[in-house]
């Protein structure tokens, strides 16, 4: 397990050396959400009804954009080869990388989201569901997206291709995530939906790294 913790530590160290990369997705998230009140007429209740979709789609896009850099810097530096020939199972190093990436870029999104939700006129009672939903959903999105990132690392214009590959895979999380918030707005219990989101997270976190590791091997030519 020392490979896992060493990789985790390294990712945090790398992020602390170039904080701009960490902050970009957050800025993107905030800016995109802020655009919507400007783009829609100020009909009462419209913004609140749209808010679940807006917040979730913006978070989803922010996560997806941040994923392009997940393996790119390592691949350019020639570090991916070292990961592939290391005795530590690629599963664990990948798990560490994606977890670290979420902690550094995804968690800030989750923490800022209630503020943005409030800005979109969501009532205070549902902000808790917003937080929980994104807390469960963003890591899932990270792990699923990492598969696409692994397959497109090293490709020219890989980020466009990444979007095409990964967005259909994101739809279940989006549906249940935004749906949970919609239910919360109607006053219905959200725990069943959260359970589904949790199940998706469990599946993505346990099985995803296998696919990501295989994707990295395939991209390196194996």
């Amino acid at each position: 397990m020392s490979g896992f913790s060493a990789t985790l530590r390294r990712e945090v160290l790398l992020a602390s050396r170039s904080p701009a990369d960490m902050v970009n997705p957050l800025f993107f998230f905030v800016v995109v959400v802020s655009l919507f009140p400007l783009a829609v007429p100020p009909t009462p209740g419209l913004l609140e009804a749209m808010a679940p979709g807006v917040v979730w789609v913006a978070a989803l896009l922010a996560v997806m954009l941040s994923l392009d850099g997940l393996f790119r810097s390592d691949e350019e530096a020639g570090v991916l080869d070292q990961l592939l020939v290391a005795p530590v199972e690629l599963y664990f190093t990948v798990l560490a990388k994606v977890l670290a990436h979420w902690l550094l870029t995804g968690l800030p999104l989750v923490l800022v989201a209630p503020l943005l939700g409030y800005m979109l006129q969501l009532p205070a009672e549902v902000l808790g569901s917003l937080l929980l939903g994104l807390l469960l959903g963003t890591p899932t999105l990270m792990f699923i997206g990492a598969i696409g990132a692994a397959l497109t690392v090293g490709l020219r214009r890989g980020s466009m291709l990444l979007a095409l590959l990964v967005l259909p895979l994101y739809i279940p999380v989006l549906v249940f995530g935004a749906g949970s918030l919609g239910r919360a707005l109607e006053g219905l219990p959200v725990s069943p939906v959260m359970a589904v989101l949790g199940a998706m997270l469990a599946m993505a976190m346990s099985l995803g790294p296998f696919a990501v590791a295989l994707g990295l091997r395939i991209s390196s030519g194996d």
Binding site: T7, V79, D81, V88, G221
Partner: protein
Amino acid sequence: MSEHPLLTVEALACERDDRLLFRDLAFTARGGDIWQVAGPNGAGKTTLLRILAGLFGFYEGTLSWHQDLVLRQAMLYLGHRPGLREELSPLENLTWLSALHGQRDDNALLAALAAVGLAGFEDLPVAHLSAGQKRRVALARLWLPGKPIWILDEPFTAIDAEGIALVEQRLRHHAEQGGLVIYTSHHRLAADTRQILLGRGAARVQP
């Protein structure tokens, strides 16, 4: 010197980008051997090394390592690029790389960096080092223990004559201890270094 063949290659052939890189490559590598893979640019040297390291899988023929060997545990692979993150210091880079290989000895890392002449540069971000110094950081792993098989892609690039002599001496030392070295370069270590010559679809093994 060990007599057990560490690596047996038979009828290895590789095609890439619709071009035949090499065909009918066969050789046996033993502990204590130093092998130089030479050839013009684009001849397939890097591809051959990646095949041996297990990074590239589209080849025909057989490649068998000694049965007691777990390749990933026994091999040190240094690729064409230094394999370092510029934001981290040499020590941080090496600490992580060693941790991947289950080694956590800071003193050994410091000693290795000192051996390549980077004592005092351990904590500077790699971005502040020259190309030669970056290459030396990567090569510092040659001074870490525990890896009998060395597969090195262009280890002599970007370093000065003093560095080349240092690395040469290290490679010879490793072979004397029974390790195996397979490297690509235009630079032949000694008259008795075994060679694999690639070029224009053919592969020749000498001697």
